[in-house]
């Protein structure tokens, strides 16, 4: 069991180590990487099968690194329910994405470096998922942040890409502060960074570290407040968006919260906070997704909305359901990104959906996978999304929670259907709106195979995973029929509404955007306001207090300049003389002489 897992992870390291040799310069390097990952996937399925059949978890602790007074840090891997199931899913999705990027980045001269970066990202993600102590998790956490920066700014000549990469790093850093706060609290209050020790000891008030962890999840998983980096991260190449920002990296924050579920079970405040945060995120990003015009940004907002849904699930105390949603969401979201990548490439790098249309006939395979992906996303019964999303909404409906958060989640679910319909309407249906000289070709084997694999995954993975995992928290079995059908009802309502609106407004004149439209299109004014206002205010405040207050006002102006100004103003106000000095002196003298002569008559 354990050696197999370690072998699987070691195989991943090989291509990086060989990067200094002749193999790297070869043009077959991408094939090499892809086959490596496929072997790692197959090997990692074996421990997963063993885990499913026996329910046995394992912790591998092999190398004692250092001991700082009473804290022992070692290299330890935790193979429990979460990591054992996540690793094959992540490897499968990465395998498909590697094959896809062999087609997508075909003309890029630095394709070997691209694959190396993707592989390094995968390794750090594995470290994050299998970490048994907070230190190793932090290593993985920072690692995925760095690789995200490198990959978003892949086309570094483009100023927008550099800004987006920097934005991603800054927002992640703010979340890291929360992570470090949690680590420090655990270090001082429970003397350990190992999960086993933290979960066993009984703490009295866990608000501070859980708040830190929530902040870390907000930063990494783009919840409301630290969310603008995710739509901006679409500046990176499509395989990057597919891997990082749909399936693996952005679920790192949610994964962190899931890991700490024994601590969150007892703390009602934290659960309410997570619930409200997730609900706000879901609704807000779904509203923003309704009026975007870039196909990748719509899918990015869709990711953000689903992440909010996962956080809501944690907030109603169902970590296993959230994890299930992570695994199923990876399949169809990666496939949606790959479909949009195929569309973009064949329309000669056109990303605006207003300039696409009528791709139903020329690209049948992509059309099929796009439709199935959108249906799985919205939770169509018996596709993948149904097994996780419907269960989440049922559990939320029947649990004792905040009614407002629940309502918002339902509205966001219907909006999911609305913007998915919008994508399909603009991209696939109608008359073509793109340049007519594009060669639309989706015949490449790599592209077809990878999308085909994820397609089969999107349809069947939900069923396969749900029926093969060890039993966890029991889902609610009985509920009134209207509650059970709620998710389906709001989704169908969203579909029909969006379809009707699109068809009705198709041939009307384009009207001036209302203020609600502007709110939705500009991401709720959040990035515009928050990127400029706080920094400008703090810089102005510091400049005023440092230089103006002390030097200019007190030393210069209070005594010297005010006295001189005062005197000058007063003298010009008060004096009403003219300047005839000589006359004054002469009259003085004549008066003096006359008085001396005239009053000399005493003798």
């Amino acid at each position: 069991f354990t050696p197999l897992m370690l072998t699987a992870m070691f195989i991943l390291l090989l291509p990086i180590i060989m990067s200094n040799t002749q193999l790297y310069k070869n043009s077959l390097y991408p094939h090499y990487v892809k086959t490596t990952i496929s072997y790692a996937f197959i090997i990692s399925m074996i421990p997963t099968m063993m885990f499913i059949s026996s329910g046995q978890e394992a912790v591998i602790s092999n190398w004692h690194w250092l001991s700082i007074q009473t804290l022992k840090l070692s290299l330890s891997f935790k193979m429990d329910y979460f990591s054992t199931i996540f690793i094959p899913v992540a490897l499968f999705v990465t395998w498909s994405i590697m094959e896809f990027s062999m087609w997508y980045m075909h003309s890029d001269p630095y394709i070997n470096r691209f694959f190396k970066y993707l592989l390094m990202f995968l390794i750090t993600m594995m470290i994050l998922v299998t970490a048994n102590n907070l230190f190793q998790l932090f290593i993985g956490w920072e690692g995925v942040g760095i690789m995200s920066f490198l990959l978003i700014g892949w086309w570094y000549g483009r100023a927008d890409a550099n800004t987006a990469a920097l934005q991603a790093i800054l927002y992640n850093r703010i979340g890291d502060v929360g992570f470090i706060m949690a680590m420090a609290w655990f270090l001082t209050n429970s003397n350990a960074w190992d999960f086993q020790q933290i979960f066993i000891t009984q703490h009295e008030n866990l608000n501070i570290p859980l708040l830190g962890l929530l902040l870390a999840a907000t930063g990494k998983s783009a919840q409301f407040g630290l969310h603008p980096w995710l739509p901006s991260a679409m500046e990176g190449p499509t395989p990057v968006s597919a891997l990082l920002h749909s399936s693996t990296m952005v679920v790192a924050g949610v994964f962190l919260l899931i890991r700490f579920y024994p601590l969150m079970e007892q703390n009602k405040t934290m659960q309410t906070l997570t619930l409200c945060l997730g609900a706000i995120t879901t609704l807000f990003t779904a509203i923003c997704a309704l009026t975007q015009n870039d196909i990748k940004k719509i899918v990015a907002f869709s990711t953000s909305s689903q992440l909010g849904l996962m956080i809501v699930t944690i907030g109603i105390n169902q970590p296993y359901l959230a994890f299930l949603h992570i695994c199923t969401h990876a399949f169809f979201k990666a496939m949606l990104f790959m479909c949009s990548g195929s569309i973009i490439h064949s329309l000669n790098d056109e990303q605006d959906i207003r300039k696409m249309g009528g791709l139903y006939k020329p690209m049948p395979f992509t059309t099929t996978s796009l439709i199935i992906g959108s249906l799985a996303l919205t939770g169509m019964p018996f596709l993948t999304g149904f097994y996780s999303k419907d269960l989440i909404i049922e559990t939320a409906n029947t649990s004792y929670t905040n009614a407002w958060a629940l309502l918002i989640t339902l509205i966001a679910t219907s909006l999911t259907a609305a913007y998915s319909t919008r994508i399909m309407f603009f991209v696939l249906l109608g008359q073509p709106r793109f340049n007519t000289l594009n060669l639309i070709n989706e015949n490449n084997t790599h592209l077809i195979n990878s999308i085909k694999r994820l397609l089969i995954g999107s349809i069947f993975a939900g069923y396969l995973i749900s029926y093969n995992i060890p039993p966890t928290t029991i889902p609610q079995m009985t509920m009134p029929y209207y509650l059970k059908l709620t998710a389906l009802a709001v989704t169908i309502a969203g579909f029909i509404l969006a379809l009707e609106l699109n068809l009705a407004a198709k041939n009307l004149k384009f009207m001036y955007p209302s203020s609600l439209f502007k709110f939705s299109n500009l991401l709720g004014y959040f990035p515009i306001v928050m990127h400029r206002l706080p920094s400008k205010m703090s810089l102005t405040m510091s400049q005023k207090s440092a230089s103006m207050l002390l030097d200019m006002i007190w030393l210069e102006n209070v005594l010297p300049k005010s006295i001189s100004l005062f005197q000058m103003k007063m003298s010009t106000t008060v004096s009403n003389q003219k300047g005839l000095v000589k006359l004054y002196f002469l009259s003085f003298m004549i008066t003096l002489a006359l008085s001396l002569i005239l009053l000399n008559s005493h003798e």
Partner: protein
Amino acid sequence: MSMVYINIFLAFIMSLMGLLMYRSHLMSSLLCLEGMMLSLFIMMAVAILNNHLTLASMTPIILLVFAACEAALGLSLLVMVSNTYGTDYVQNLNLLQC
């Protein structure tokens, strides 16, 4: 009165005339002011020493101190006028705002 006092008193009157009657330069009135101060000082010192009025022996020195202050004030006013007009002609001293 003895001849000395009348002499010095005449010198004082001359300086006073010079202070009150000058043509164009402000500097000349300041100089006559100094002259007045000088004659007063001499008169005071001679009177005190001749009549052995030891108690008032420090009055000349006090007179010198105050004369120095007033000379400084006068000179600063001269400098202010000269700053704005370039010369110290007394015809400049109308109240045009500087």
